[in-house]
């Protein structure tokens, strides 16, 4: 079994941060704030968050904030709930949540809750349970969850529960591991996991493990390292992770590394990217790979960061 090439991955992440001229980089320009969250959280899990200049990052992040309180994916773009969470998560990593005007951010998010309890991504009204998770996670980190109507938010998420025990993006939407992570995470944070049929969903989730040991996102699809996070964290939150073969998953994730140039890809021998590097390392953390910081399955931040938010000074 291979090993996690920590140094190479750190180098890869730092290089991506600097390299802004490739076509791949420009095409992802609009979600750079997500990229910052993926890269920086990975660095923290590897114990190397101090390799970056926190002040520079924070100053850039604040330039992404709009009048409305929401954050854009990069300077010049429009605000959206997706990037607002990443901004708050990165500030939490650096223990710099105090640079925020919390009311301003909270107002942006509460303004996105609809009558039925669902959340829109931005003023243009796209509704998705991903946004429910984001709103709940974000306000929870800012310790003002009571600013939204939690009961209605939970009811909307429950209305997206399917007969296979999973969750979709909107009522009637097919169960998908990404959406399941969002819904289970939101229910976990709001103390509402009793709405989940843990045995039913646990079986659906554990059957995501295919012969190669990797996990797919829904039945009869290919395995992908990013599901190591979404399926695994969901299983952990409902205490059914022992239903998969952790050894086999370890090997799959490690096989997806590019040990020469750093980074992790969706499948062995595919091109690497920051997204899959984060999910691979986060997945390994959930599997208790030695030397990695523990990550919280609901907030998707290191456990020490989450504990600091709730129990620290």
């Amino acid at each position: 079994m291979g090993e996690l090439a920590v140094e190479k991955h750190v180098e890869y992440i730092l290089a991506v941060e600097k390299r802004k001229d490739s076509f791949e980089s420009v095409v992802m320009d609009h979600l750079r704030l997500n990229g910052a969250y993926w890269g920086l959280t990975t660095l923290d899990l590897l114990g190397k968050l101090d390799s970056v200049n926190a002040d520079e990052v924070i100053s850039w992040i604040m330039k992404c904030q709009h009048e409305s309180g929401g954050f854009a994916g990069n300077i010049g773009h429009d605000p959206h709930i997706l990037y607002t969470l990443s901004a708050v998560q990165v500030l939490a990593l650096f223990n710099k949540l105090d640079v925020l005007n919390i009311d301003k951010v909270a107002t942006y998010i509460t303004g996105l809750q609809n009558e039925d309890g669902s959340f829109s991504g931005d003023m243009w009204g796209e509704v998705d349970t991903r946004f429910s998770y984001i709103a709940i996670c974000c306000l929870s980190i800012l310790r003002c969850l009571d600013k939204i109507n939690v009961e209605k938010a939970v009811n909307y998420i429950v209305s997206c529960k399917n007969l296979d025990g999973g969750f979709g993006c909107t009522p009637g939407g097919e169960s998908h591991a990404g959406q399941i992570f969002c819904c289970v995470g939101a229910l976990a944070i709001t103390g509402s996991l009793h709405h989940v049929d843990k045995d039913l969903l646990g079986w659906w989730l554990c059957e995501r493990q295919v012969k190669s040991g990797g996990l797919n996102g829904r039945p009869e699809k290919l395995p992908d390292v990013c599901y190591s996070w979404w399926v695994l964290s969901s299983l952990i939150m409902i205490d059914r992770v022992h239903w998969i073969d952790k050894e086999k998953l370890f090997r799959f994730i490690l096989d997806c590394q590019d040990v020469e140039n750093g980074g992790i890809s969706d499948r062995p021998d595919d091109a690497v990217d920051i997204f899959h590097t984060y999910f691979g390392v986060a997945g390994l953390s959930l599997l208790e790979y030695p030397g990695l910081k523990a990550i919280d399955p609901a907030y998707a931040l290191p456990v020490d960061v989450v504990n600091r938010i709730f129990f620290g000074r």
């Binding site: 399917n162 009637g172 097919e174 996991l193 499948r267 595919d270 208790e288 600091r308």
Partner: protein
Amino acid sequence: MHGRPRKAPKPEDEAASAAKAKKLRSLQSQFFSFHHNKIYTKEAVELSAKLLEINPESYTAWNYRKLAVEHHLSQPESNPDSVKSILDDELRVVESALRQNFKSYGAWHHRKWILSKGHSLIDHELRLLDKFQKADSRNFHAWNYRRFVAELMNRSEQDELKYTEHMIYTNFSNYSAWHNRSVLLSNLLEEKAEGFLSKEKVLPEEYEFIHQAIFTDPDDQSGWFYHLWLLDQTVKDDSPLLVSSWPAHGSDLFLLEDRCHNGSAFSPFTTLHSDSGSFPVVLYFNQSVEGVSSSTVTVESGFNKNEDLVWKPLSASNSQTAQVWVAHLKFPTSEFHSSVEVSVGHSKGIISSKGSQHSYPSTFSFKVCVQPVERDFSEASVAENISWREEDFKVYGRQTQESIPIVSFDELSIKNDHEPTASSWRAEAIAKEIECFRELLSLMDCKIGKLTLARLLMAYDVMAFSCANKLVHSEEVLELYNDLMKLDTSHYQYYKDEHSLVFLQQVTSSRESLLKHCFQYKDSVSSSICNPICLRLNNLSLSQMGAFEKLLWVQMLDLSQNELRSIEGLEAMQLLSCLSLRNNKLRSLTALEPLRKLKSLRVLDISYNEIGEHSIDTTRYLCSSPLSHSVGSEWNKDETVISGVALINYWEAFFIFKELSLKQLDIVGNAIADEKFKSILVKVLPKLKRLDGELLD
């Protein structure tokens, strides 16, 4: 980001990429200039289309186009034709973007936004969807869009159901189609729509249909979950039902206030030592319910006013729903006899979490006898150390004429006023399924065949024999799970957990088998046996605990030497005062959450587990804590130190233990149990008298 092969970058590739990047950057910056200056000329709008053609994920460009549309629609010159032309342009841009990336959230949402304006032709949309389905029948964006269009068009659920049938016949391996079918069918059944009156008619046809999928390729998962849903629909009555209670119907309860009494006149199964002046009444339903209160449950006793009773749900967090509910009845301190009658659900109000009314009212009754204090043994009982040694246990050998007041084995424990008739169509459907799957297994050894057969046999036993409580197929089911553990090793633990549950059902299904596990504990201080019956389920390779509805009477439980990683469900055992979980696989303090509901628990042994060994806590969100916003208002969120304990390091110990009134705790053999931790425990558990065998002062 997905599915691109890894290759070393060649210099010419990098140069080409840099050139493309430069072009895109220039387009982007021009676009920003138009967007920030609110310029919506034809030229500007066309530029945004170019940008989206290269990069459909550039969400700000979609926003800009919406602003442009609104700008043009609000112009005085706008008329129905110009409006339609503008919207058609948008639809073309979306189609072109979708060709680039048919999973683009931004593109699909833009299309919905345009359609919602109400000026476009909807029929075209279904044709477009057909094209996308042919390209990728699992594209969930397309399926979502289809639901959106179907609603706009007011297409009937029956028509959409036919569509799923068509898709499935095209390719059985289409989970998305099966999923949509399950949604439509369950709606139609619930609405009792025309042609869909009863499950009795619909389900057999669906079974025929799903067999074609499963039996064609048993390794293809597409049909598995649909089949499980059909099974669930066949077996379960939607309406909630009371399945068990404590005290059990017809039992004679003896309440004693001192720890020891002479005389074996009282059955140790129904004798309760109570130092709280009250005893619990426990209701165990077949599913989670809400609405259990003194309005929906009436307790008639000579010594309590029904309206004073407070029924509490046994669930973690803020939930007002639970499968198990408890209320405490205060009893008088002098010698006393009375009979108690409990009526459940005679007035409306108890509802399942799925919204079904409780419609099978039931009654049970029992007698209570209170024995006053005779001698004061309180000092001795304080010093008493429960050590759980093998030699301290004696098999309960007394000839039992008396029934063990758990579930009466020969008759219903609950007297239901209206018994749900075990409809024959259900039993028939299950029997037929059993036949089909036996046939499949005779042709090929497959995992889904064995797993489904195991589930079917258990369901059949529970349904057909609920009165007699016999489990005729349990040996075969245990064999099937043993086979599965070898056949599908990746999911070994899943089958192990199921195996443990079936095994426990088997053990608790008859008086003979249960008695083999009943022992009396003799303590070293006094020579008389003054402790209740200990149910010993130790050393049985149990990875999961269950059969709680049969074990509500247990006061002392030995689960040592097993493989338990969780004690989910244990909160139902309200009478537990002594519990051993020694030598198991508990990984964290949060796994002990169910114990917080056990108000009578005094002796706990969690020694030799794995608490403190793991960096990842799998029950972190299944316990009440600030992380999951499930702590009561008594916790001040700004407090970081409580009772001298720094929460950031010891929050689990604080939240789990602070409500327990433990007298004795054993924790040795866990990585967490160093001296510092033990001193924290002493602070958090003020009533603790013994820790790891040592008397505390």
